[in-house]
Symmetry: C2
DNA sequence: ATCCACATGTAAGGCGTTACATGATTGG
DNA sequence: CCAATCATGTAACGCCTTACATGTGGAT
């Protein structure tokens, strides 16, 4: 019974109650998107696969002339989700073009390092702001597990923004060339 | 002249000096790996592609009976790298199974939220430690752009570890159910 | 009428990993 | 002699995004 990584996102949100693919996509876009994105091209086929595996079951509940498939978690799906929850997390992947540019900026003209730092910081600040806005919109108890993730995202990005400012200030005083350049050969 | 995302990593490290695919892989594994990974299955074919595009040039420099291709950045490659450096970063992707589990933990038995938080914190602490070790091994000026990234990784992960501890302590006092569960329907 | 939100899907292609295959050299 | 390191590569496959395709219902 192989479930793809993103399959667990679907099992997880269906554990909160029945939903359509469209609704799942909306939920994901204001929540897990920031640490686990999912597109329609993933969601719809994956829902079918999970149904084929008996982990969720879909029912056609049209609204007027609009076709609509509402999926719910089955007992087997709940068991699979629970087993996954107990396993230690394994996937921690990051692809950060800002950091990459900063990393490679040694040897570039003066001021480039500061520019990359300021771009990174700005990005983090903007992200924090978007997350704060979502936080304001959803309200609710700040200790709830899902809102804890929101708080994490906000505070993390605020920290990053501040770090970038500090680093840029420090670097301006005495810029240095790359170090890994010399090593590793 | 299309260059794939990871292609720029190769251009970037070749900007520091000529290297073989093997050497690039080693360098990446102790540096960009934490925010931009690359496998042999990527590196070798990509090097050939970049060479085909005239952005790098490879020379066969066997060591004894061991075949060895040393690549260097060409002028066109330098120009392409420089143009990329000037563009604002666009790729910021994260896939964090720990956060995902935390997010989905609402509705789970009591104590699960704390467990996920402690696992996240532990992971961050271990990562910080590995990075500190690399920092000790490479030494060098702390303001160099590449070592700035290392410092960033260390301090970020230390911050995450502390955040997780704090959050677990706070949550233990008054656990709450999921909030997004109610929203988004 | 027109636009937006609702709603579901597929096809092509990009990017990347894992596993496999091969072989030379060096150090213990 | 054996293990680790140096060194290069390919094939299969998984995962995911983008773009396309299609249609309904409600509000202005």
């Amino acid at each position: 019974m192989e479930v793809s990584p993103t399959g667990y996102v679907l099992l997880g949100v269906l554990n909160w109650g029945p939903r359509t693919g469209y609704e799942i996509k909306q939920l994901v876009d204001r929540s897990t998107r920031f640490f686990w994105a999912a597109s329609y091209g993933q969601i719809y086929p994956e829902l079918k696969r999970l149904e084929g595996q008996g982990l969720i079951s879909g029912e056609s509940e049209p609204r007027g002339g609009r076709s609509r498939n509402v999926y719910s978690l089955t007992d087997r799906g709940r068991a699979e989700l629970s087993a996954w929850m107990k396993r230690p997390p394994e996937i921690f992947e990051t692809r950060n073009e800002g950091l990459l540019k900063l990393f490679l900026a040694g040897g570039e003209p003066a001021g480039e390092v500061e520019r990359h730092l300021s771009e990174m910081g700005e990005h983090a600040e903007q992200l924090a702001q978007r997350l704060r806005q979502i936080q304001g919109e959803v309200g609710g108890e700040k200790q709830a597990a899902d809102l804890l993730c929101l708080r994490f995202g906000i505070e993390l990005n605020e920290w990053v923004a501040e770090w970038c400012e500090r680093a840029a200030a420090e670097h301006e005083k005495e810029p240095k060339a790359a170090v890994f350049a010399a090593r590793g050969r």
